[in-house]
């Protein structure tokens, strides 16, 4: 008997978000022919990350992938992965999510009906503006577009900037007219939304590593045999690895596109002073993410 599952992806067929599900579906099909039918619905047609996560809990969607930020309403502890300037590079994040902390977060997600079969890395978020902003002091008084998240708001107000909540669909407009002067985003999304047209300067702050998970609905997962769970789990672990590789390639392409359209990519001279300015966020979120000790533990991993 064939079981159908609806899989929601936020972006188009040519993006890693959708490509990996095509891959996962293929792998599962080769190991258990005819057992599952993956109905992959791309382009965010089933809603944004949070709506899809809700639909998963209500039984309308069986699998998707999401930034941890969008799942933090259910598992606030996930925000340890979003703490600014805590992670040195992608390998550092990988060690954390593959270790004890990752396992703990997976257990917490499972208790909330999200079976996270793999962690993914969307790349680092960088500061984007109309002109170079190399020192944190230059952020004072600037209007920066932020996503709806206390963590992000807190980060930028800590630098003396004015956070303005603007949905991504309105962001291009708001930046071109000047409702906001700056924003932050991952490299691959930067080119995807053509933002180099309005904020041509990218500062390589890499302040937040955008992490995410590939997940299945717990209610769906619990109805499967251990063998089926194993097959899906193996395939999505592969899919997660593929995602990370695709994002790295996508980032290179994205930067090349931005440069060829007159964009600039600048390194910040003193990352330590930026890091220092973000410490307030660690203190504020320590009680939520499992204590100061856990943050320190992450630093040393």
């Amino acid at each position: 008997k064939t079981t159908s599952l609806t899989v929601a992806s936020l972006l188009g067929e040519d993006k890693p978000e959708t490509k990996i599900w095509r891959h996962i579906a293929e792998r599962v099909e080769s190991r258990m022919p005819g057992r599952f039918r993956f109905n992959i619905v791309a382009n965010g047609a089933l809603g944004g990350e949070k709506e899809v996560a809700e639909a998963t809990r209500l039984g309308a969607v069986q699998a998707s992938l999401s930034t941890v930020s969008s799942l933090s309403g259910w598992v606030p502890e996930l925000q340890i992965l979003d703490l600014p300037f805590l992670y040195r590079d992608a390998a550092h994040v990988a060690r954390v999510v593959n270790g004890e902390i990752g396992a703990d977060l997976q257990a917490r997600l499972k208790a909330q009906n999200f079976v996270a079969t793999g962690f993914i890395d969307y790349g680092a978020r960088h500061l984007l503006a109309k002109e170079p902003i190399l020192r944190p002091q230059e952020m004072v008084g600037r209007k920066i577009r932020v996503i709806q998240s206390p963590l992000h708001t807190r980060l930028w107000s800590g630098f003396g900037a004015v956070p303005v909540g603007i949905p991504i669909t309105e962001t291009y407009n708001a930046l071109s007219t000047g409702v906001a002067d700056a924003m932050d985003l991952t490299k691959s999304a930067y080119a995807g939304f053509k933002l180099y047209e309005v904020v041509p300067v990218m500062m390589l702050t890499g302040h937040i590593r955008a992490s995410g998970v590939v997940y299945f609905a717990g209610s769906f997962w619990n109805g499967l045999s251990p063998e089926e769970q194993q097959v899906l789990s193996d395939a999505s672990t592969e899919g997660a690895a593929m995602f990370d590789a695709l994002i790295v390639a996508d980032e290179e392409k994205s930067v090349a596109t931005a440069l060829s359209h007159g964009g600039q990519v600048l390194a910040v001279p003193d990352i330590a002073e930026w890091r220092q300015g973000a410490r307030g966020v660690w203190d504020a979120f320590a009680p939520v993410v499992g204590g100061q000790a856990r943050i320190e533990a992450v630093e040393t991993i």
């Binding site: 965010g44 047609a45 089933l46 209500l58 709806q148 206390p150 991504i168 669909t169």
Partner: protein, 607 residues
């Protein structure tokens, strides 16, 4: 037995009294929520510029209030024009079939009410999580839709009792509850996808003259029996998600602005000024409405907001100057199509987000297309609206005085246009500022607080009728996406070999057909990424094609059965939708001519 009909016994009097209290309560609460929404959005602007800080969670709070507003006001839109009933068919039936259709329509409404009540109840139990920005359980968001559903059921029964029709008061609920219980247990094996069944059931509800939004909700529930992937709680959460967009908050504010502009007398003076300039010409006032619409489009990206504004502001003026109400409404509805074509445009932003097209290039295309459409509309207006409301030519002194008295209304244009253009505020904030400004005008005109609260209450009820429709279209879009209707479309478009002409022709036909039943936002997200590659492969300029796609879909705001712009105008003005659909035909034709020219140009100018 027909004995109950028309008699006004004691139960009817009691029911009518209870109904009055309930309506007063719901309307006042909705008005209060609307006022709070305004304060929240304005506070964000004040904090940003006055105190260099943001209001944490203002965006989410605004969205939650919007949901609350719609939940509170929606039960009031059961009767009257706000119900958006398509009564073309039912009104021609003999009494008995008409009565049966009425019971069927009530059954649809009851089914919708049950989905709201039990769907919301289940979501509250299942959704979990805490809002990161507001710090309260997400479940709270669904509490008011539950109450709104209960109020809808109560109002329906009370209305029928108050009409003295006890039989109908019972029959509708019995029908609705029976169907609700049946779809929970029935499994109907069928080879047709669930979205097709949903469309059929919604169509049946429409024919029975049930409120459009109720037909959508009921159809989503019936689709469960046909294998729909949306269980009842997910229907409700998808509906709420459809409403949970910050940009949609501009709709209530622009609607409020229109109502307050009228209440303050400023609209009257604006139109008098326009009339003093061109009123003596052929269709002068109607052309003025078009010109105002073009200017308004340069500030707003929401056609629904413009339709609401124009319907509240200009339609009454056109009628006062001798235009038939339906034609006046049709001109307003047709003009509001331009909002999403002339930048800024929500539609182009969605398309750019869903595809890889440059927003800048799309917007430039939008200017050209919008200009062409406005020109075609001007011709159509000159041809059709000619003989109404010609006024005597007036002297320079009268014009100058009219201009001076219209200065406050010009201030509104400045706020909206410059607020957005110079980049002081976002579209939603500009709408809120516009509402606040007109509130000041109304206060200065000494309209009195009770009178003004009445304006808030009325606007709130209109907002919720429109909002409920936007929300309830979302489950349908969800099912269409799951059934990969987009993929089917792609294979249709390349059917005739894939030459540029064939692809353009078939794409336009597919879009014209799909736009009949799909909300524009959903259509762009679903179809844009699918049709674009076919167009590029056929050698059509992708940006040009994107513009054609948006123009084509926007035109559907005027076509039955789901002409959203027509329903909005109908809801605000009280002119029946069926009359508007007829009256809008010449303008629809003009816009189709513009679409044809745009398509022809795409064949001439190839990349």
């Amino acid at each position: 037995m027909e004995t109950g009909v028309g008699s006004a016994g004691a139960p009817a009097r009691v029911a009518a009294a209870v109904l009055r209290v309930l309506d007063r309560l719901l309307g006042s609460l909705a008005g209060l929520v609307l006022a709070t929404m305004l304060v929240v959005v304005l506070a964000g602007v004040v904090l940003r510029y006055g105190f260099k800080t943001g209001l944490m969670g203002a965006e989410d709070l605004g969205i939650w209030l919007h949901i609350a507003l719609i939940a509170l006001g929606a039960p009031l839109a059961l009767n009257g024009p706000l119900a958006m009933r398509l009564d073309i068919l039912v009104s021609r039936l003999p009494p008995l079939p008409q009565r049966l259709a009425g019971i069927g329509a009530d059954g649809v409404s009851v089914l919708a009410g049950l989905v709201l009540v039990f769907g919301a109840g289940a979501v509250m139990e299942m959704v979990g999580g805490t809002s990161p920005t507001l710090g309260v359980p997400e479940a709270l968001r669904f509490g008011l839709p539950l109450l709104g559903g209960a109020a809808l059921l109560a109002r329906l029964v009370l209305c029928r009792i108050a009409e003295g029709d006890i039989a109908r008061a019972l029959a509708g609920p019995v029908l609705g509850v029976t169907v609700y219980l049946l779809v929970g247990h029935l499994v109907i094996e069928t080879s047709w996808p669930p979205s097709v069944w949903m469309a059929l059931v919604a169509g049946l509800g429409l024919v029975l003259s049930a409120p459009l939004a109720h037909a959508f909700l009921a159809a989503a529930a019936v689709a469960i029996a046909f294998g729909s992937s949306l269980p009842a709680p997910a229907i409700l959460s998808t509906t709420v998600a459809g409403l949970s967009k910050f940009l949609l908050l501009a709709v209530p504010f622009f609607l409020l602005t229109g109502a307050l502009l009228t209440a303050s007398g400023a609209a009257d003076r604006l139109v008098r000024f326009a009339a003093s300039l061109v009123g003596h010409r052929r269709a002068g006032l109607a052309q003025t409405v078009l010109l105002t619409g073009v200017l308004f489009s340069g500030a707003s990206g929401s056609s629904v907001a413009n339709a609401a504004f124009g319907a509240a502001t200009f339609q009454p003026e056109l009628v006062r100057h001798g235009y038939p109400p339906a034609q006046a409404g049709a001109i307003v509805a047709a003009t509001s199509v331009l909002d999403n074509v002339i930048p800024p445009s929500i539609a182009f932003l969605l398309l750019a987000a869903a595809t890889n097209l440059s927003i800048g290039a799309l917007l430039t295309g939008g200017f050209v297309a919008g200009g062409l459409m406005a020109l075609c509309l001007a011709v159509a207006i000159a041809l059709t609206a000619g003989d109404h409301g010609r006024m005597p030519r007036v002297g320079r002194d009268v014009q100058l005085r009219a201009a001076l008295s219209a200065v406050p209304a010009f201030g509104l244009g400045l706020i909206v246009v410059f607020g957005i253009r110079i980049g002081v505020v976002t579209t939603t904030e500009a709408a809120a500022l516009a509402a606040a400004y007109t509130l000041l005008l109304a206060l200065m005109a000494r309209r009195g607080v009770p009178g003004l609260f009445g304006v808030f209450r009325q606007a709130a009820v209109e907002v919720s009728a429109i909002g409920l429709l936007i929300g309830t279209a979302a489950p349908f879009a969800f099912l269409l996406a799951v059934d990969d209707i987009a993929g089917v479309m792609q294979s249709v478009v390349t059917l005739l070999g894939g030459s540029a002409l064939a692809v353009l022709l078939l794409s336009n036909l597919v879009l014209l057909a799909l736009g009949l039943i799909l909300d524009i936002g959903a259509a762009i997200l679903l179809i844009g990424p699918v049709l674009l590659p076919a167009a590029v492969a056929a050698g059509i300029d992708p940006v040009h094609f994107g513009v054609i796609l948006v123009v084509n879909l926007m035109i559907h705001g005027l076509t039955p059965p789901l002409g959203l712009l027509v329903y909005v105008v109908s809801g605000v003005t009280g002119v029946p939708a069926s009359a508007l659909f007829r009256a809008v035909l010449p303008y629809l034709g003009a816009l189709l001519v513009a679409l044809f020219i745009l398509s022809a140009l795409a064949l001439v100018f190839r990349p």
